[in-house]
């Protein structure tokens, strides 16, 4: 039988606010345990939550970015369960009435093997605001478990998709797209190691062609795209094998073990909590007016899709280039700054995605930390365009710029990389070369095209690489015709 995997994602994105969602405590990562745990974070008797408006604005931003319905009135609810890192004994979340309703995200699924790349729309069911829990710390004190409540109350936006994805590749493409988007609109720092972007993946399988969904298992807390691929692929195989062996799938929560590459059930549905959701009486319904939305809309950056279309139209870039340049806002901004500093758009795109991207990758750094800024790159590209330096020389200048050796023109001067563009001087060199290489001239005249290239090489060598190759070509052609 042929099987089909059905995947839906729930992603917890940590919002980039200054303070916690219901208190004024800082959410900075990595502080000493419990130094960012105020009265509200500790859930002392008598404390009350007050919504951080920044978190609301982040939710609106996301809703606008995915073209979703933003609820004019949404409700915070209490999700009740006991756990030591959950200080109130309930998590404030949203249940029946979430802040963001249905929306959609368009993903680019890359080519895999002989399957070509394609575009797909993933529907978003909802996104809701909630608070994060603290952390249990084991072993910091011998024989004891500790609780760090610094993270308790950190604002999260939980983004839930429809079960629209049909492969690990699609799921990862969606996760990457979402990861780019939340950073693009500035609501999440995207740091997966620090837990700012965590995915729960619901996986089920069914016979291909079946309309009915299979029983799903939820893989919790995947914090890298590599693990996500491995976990989904393992889980899919496991479910298919279980069913083919005559077994049944029990609804369960599973954890992925990166060391073994396997998923393992954590708890089954029967053991699941009854969370006793009810509206939190300490918080009024979250009311979002048209004016609130307009205020956020006014601060919205241009979204990647719009920017991609603009790049194609304004700079005559290919769809591929425009897409690649809009995978992150920093990259896109860098490209635009390069063009605005006077460089040619196509040339800028090639350099940003080629030489610069390769260097950033090799040095394991990001474009925002690049030692070469957009203005410097533009200056370098201008020196290629105006024939001051050759493409080869430009590579040397690029290296020198990376090592912060000075301005483009200083480096060209210091390294003596300026091209010889004086046609008289080049003609003199060409004449010398023709005189000294009579054999090659004969070969060329006898029809050997390669001899021409050899003569160009000789001329370039004679000029110590500084002659403008285009001019050398032209002059040689003229002299030999």
């Amino acid at each position: 039988m042929e099987w089909e995997v059905v995947i839906g994602l729930e992603t917890h994105t940590q919002l980039k606010t200054n303070t916690k969602i219901f208190s004024g405590a800082s959410i900075k990562y990595g502080a000493e345990p419990n130094t960012q745990a105020c009265e509200v974070s500790i859930a002392l008797p008598g404390v009350l939550p007050v919504l951080n408006k920044e978190a609301m604005q982040c939710a609106i931003k996301f809703g606008l970015a995915i073209n979703a319905h933003i609820a004019p009135r949404s409700v915070f609810a209490r999700k009740n369960y006991f756990y030591p890192d959950l200080p109130k004994g309930y998590q404030i979340s949203q249940f029946e009435l979430p802040v963001v309703g249905k929306g959609a995200v368009t993903i680019q699924v890359p080519a895999v093997g002989k399957n070509a790349a394609y575009e797909k729309v993933v529907n978003i069911t909802r996104a809701h605001l909630e608070e994060d829990a603290g952390k249990s710390v084991h072993g910091a004190v011998e024989g004891m478990s500790g609780i760090d409540l610094n993270r308790a109350g950190t604002p999260l936006l939980e983004i839930v998709t429809e079960p629209d994805m049909r492969s690990a590749a699609e799921a990862v493409a969606y996760a990457k797209k979402l990861h780019e988007l939340v950073q693009w609109i500035g609501i999440c720092d995207g740091n997966m190691q620090e837990g700012s972007f965590r995915c729960d993946v619901n996986v089920s399988v069914r016979p291909k062609g079946s309309e009915k969904l299979g029983t799903r298992r939820e893989i919790k807390n995947l914090n890298s795209f590599k693990f996500m691929t491995q976990a989904i692929e393992y889980e899919t195989r496991w479910q298919i094998e279980t069913l083919e062996d005559g077994g049944t799938i029990q609804q369960a929560t599973v954890l992925f073990n990166p060391d073994t590459g396997e998923t393992r059930a954590m708890r089954s549905k029967e053991e699941a909590n009854d969370y006793r959701y009810f509206p939190d009486p300490d918080l009024l319904p979250l009311v979002i007016s048209e004016a609130d939305k307009d205020a956020v809309r006014a601060q919205m950056p241009e979204l990647p899709e719009a920017m991609k279309a603009r790049f194609e139209a304004q700079y005559a870039l290919s769809s591929y280039d425009a897409n690649a340049l809009t995978t992150s806002r920093d990259l896109a901004n860098y490209f635009v700054a390069t063009v605005e500093a006077g460089a040619d758009a196509k040339q800028s795109a090639n350099w940003v995605m080629g030489t610069l991207a390769a260097k950033l990758n090799a040095e394991d750094t990001s474009i925002s930390d690049s030692p070469i800024n957009a203005q410097q790159l533009a200056q370098l590209l201008k020196r290629i365009s105006d024939n001051t330096i050759s493409n080869n020389a430009a590579k040397q200048v690029f290296e020198a710029l990376w090592n912060v050796e000075g301005s483009v023109d200083d480096i060209i001067a210091a390294k003596g990389l300026k091209q010889e563009s004086d046609s008289g001087a080049i003609e003199a060199i060409v004449d010398e070369v023709l005189a000294a290489n009579a054999a090659m001239v004969e070969e060329f005249k006898a029809g050997k095209e390669k001899a021409f290239n050899a003569l160009v090489g000789q001329a370039m060598k004679a000029s110590k690489g500084k002659a403008n190759p285009t001019q050398v070509n032209d002059i040689l052609k003229k002299k030999l015709s």
Binding site: I42, A43, P45, P87, P281
Partner: protein, 494 residues
């Protein structure tokens, strides 16, 4: 001095006829004398209290005076006060020292009032007799074998026995008004949202409201001027302009100061279940209001009978969640021995909570459970809206509503402890105002004979429309200008 009004005390302090230290010491001495028997206070700290009194005297000397500067106030032990033991009447918090101040504590401090101590209460404010307190019952100063009512029983006894100049309470279903009725003083539960709940330990968040407990309406108005007002730390606090609750009190010396006031009498408040002697006192009080110029209107609050069932779904539901934080992990009671995490939770909560609190956590957990939520919680919320609508209709016909605050006078300790439903019925006339969020007060209206021949106080309840406290206080004040019930003091405590 102990019978003086807050206004009189303020004047004496400002005229330097007495010092705050002297006044405070007077009450501390009385507490030392009577509290061991009455048990109105859970926590006392003479050092802290007298330091505040000294500071108040310095303020007065410097001319930096507010109406309550230097006046000793008892605080219900439900309010967190920095450095003070704050127990909420529970073993669970018997060892808890609050590290921060509730909003109203901050307000009283800013006004220069003196914190006299933390008063006894039913555990987590769950009770109508103060008998669920981990720190023992409180005696009704009018009759020591009777209860003071609850849950603000300690504050009630302290006001009645003159162990404070005034006190604070909280009212979730009647916890200010029923004890005010049973102990013979004036208590006001303000409109929901008028007083910040920040730092007030939650029982049922959508119903809890703090208010003053004092001898007279005028005293309550002065207390409200300190307690009420917007606080951004409570999302349910209403952002309204600060008001002067005394503004209506002093400007009507005519013979019929309440001329034109329409008083609604809900027939449901005068039916079966009301003690006949209490009913007579209420009727006499209504007659007095007619003399003051009020016009009596018959009204109906048809859903009154549903208020107790609705309340005992919603309040326990919220409480079951609000009390989840008491898990023995971060503060409060933790069992001495346990085998694992679940065992620690189970034992700590089993040991830390009393029977009534456990009963309500169980009820609340049940009504919120999957499969029962719609039938109980949602249904109760719908009926809650109907109850509120009853009042909307009623206030189209009248300005204030009057009736008894409690169905009986103070009952004997132990009489109802084993019958939760009989205990819950104590709040039959008060609960619906909490469900509707309306302000209500109880004022002394006379005395009724108990079955065993003891004369006990009876409270008249006045219910007003939203944010109509100033008018209600004047309605009470005018009555208190022509009656002296509110000045009566229990015998034997002079």
């Amino acid at each position: 001095m102990i019978n003086s009004s807050l206004k009189q005390l303020g004047e004496m302090l400002q005229a330097k006829k007495i010092s705050s230290v002297e006044l405070t010491q007077t009450f501390l001495d009385r507490i030392q004398q009577y509290n061991p028997n009455i048990n109105a206070y859970i926590a006392l700290d003479e050092g802290k209290t007298l330091a505040q009194a000294k500071a108040a005297d310095a303020r007065i000397a410097a001319g930096n005076v507010a109406p309550l500067t230097g006046i000793p106030i008892a605080q219900k032990d439900i309010f967190c006060a920095k450095g003070w033991q704050t127990t909420c009447g529970s073993k669970m918090l018997a060892n808890f020292i609050a590290p921060y101040d509730a909003h109203i504590i901050t307000q009283f401090d800013a006004a220069g009032a003196v914190n006299l101590g933390k008063t006894n209460m039913d555990e987590f404010a769950m009770g109508s007799s103060n008998e669920t307190s981990y720190f023992g019952g409180v005696k009704n100063p009018w009759s020591f074998d009777r209860v003071p009512g609850g849950s603000s029983g300690g504050s009630a006894a302290a006001v009645a026995a003159r162990l404070c100049a005034a006190a604070t309470g909280t009212d979730t279903g009647g916890s200010i008004r029923q004890p005010a009725s049973l102990c013979g003083f004036t208590g006001l539960k303000p409109t929901y949202g008028a007083v910040s709940r920040f730092g007030m330990i939650a029982f049922a968040s959508s119903l809890d409201q703090a208010g003053p407990m004092a001898k007279s309406a005028e005293d309550c108005a002065l207390m409200m001027n300190v307690m009420a007002g917007f606080d951004e730390r409570d999302s349910t606090s209403l952002n309204r302009e600060k008001e002067d609750y005394t503004r209506d009190l002093y400007n009507s010396n005519q013979a019929k100061p309440l001329q034109g006031l329409k008083v609604g009498l809900p027939k449901e408040y005068f039916s079966e279940g009301l003690d006949a002697n209490v009913g007579n006192v209420i009727e006499a009080a209504i007659a007095e209001y007619k003399n003051l110029g009020a016009e009596i209107v018959d009204i109906s609050l048809p859903n009154t009978g549903l208020s107790i069932p609705v309340y005992y779904v919603l309040a326990p539901a919220e409480a079951s969640s609000n009390l989840s934080r008491y898990d023995g992990v971060r503060y409060g009671h933790r069992a001495a021995e346990y085998t694992d995490l679940m065992d620690m939770y189970n034992k700590s909560r089993a040991e830390g909570f009393g029977a009534e609190v456990k009963r309500r956590i169980l009820i609340g957990t049940y009504v919120l459970s999957a499969g029962y939520y719609d039938a109980y919680y949602l249904k109760a919320q719908q009926i809650r809206r109907l109850i509120a609508q009853d009042f909307v209709e009623a206030f189209k016909k009248c300005d204030v509503i009057m009736g008894p605050a409690a169905p009986s006078t103070a009952f004997k300790a132990g009489e109802k402890v084993d019958d939760p439903v009989a205990m819950y019925l104590q709040d039959i006339y008060t609960i619906s105002t909490n469900l509707a969020g309306l302000p209500g007060m109880s004022i002394p209206a006379g005395f009724a004979q108990s079955d065993d021949g003891v004369s006990l106080p009876v409270g008249l309840q006045i219910i007003g429309n939203y944010f109509d406290e100033a008018r209600m206080l004047n309605v009470a004040h005018q009555y208190q200008q022509v009656t002296d019930w509110h000045t009566r003091m229990p015998a034997g405590l002079e």
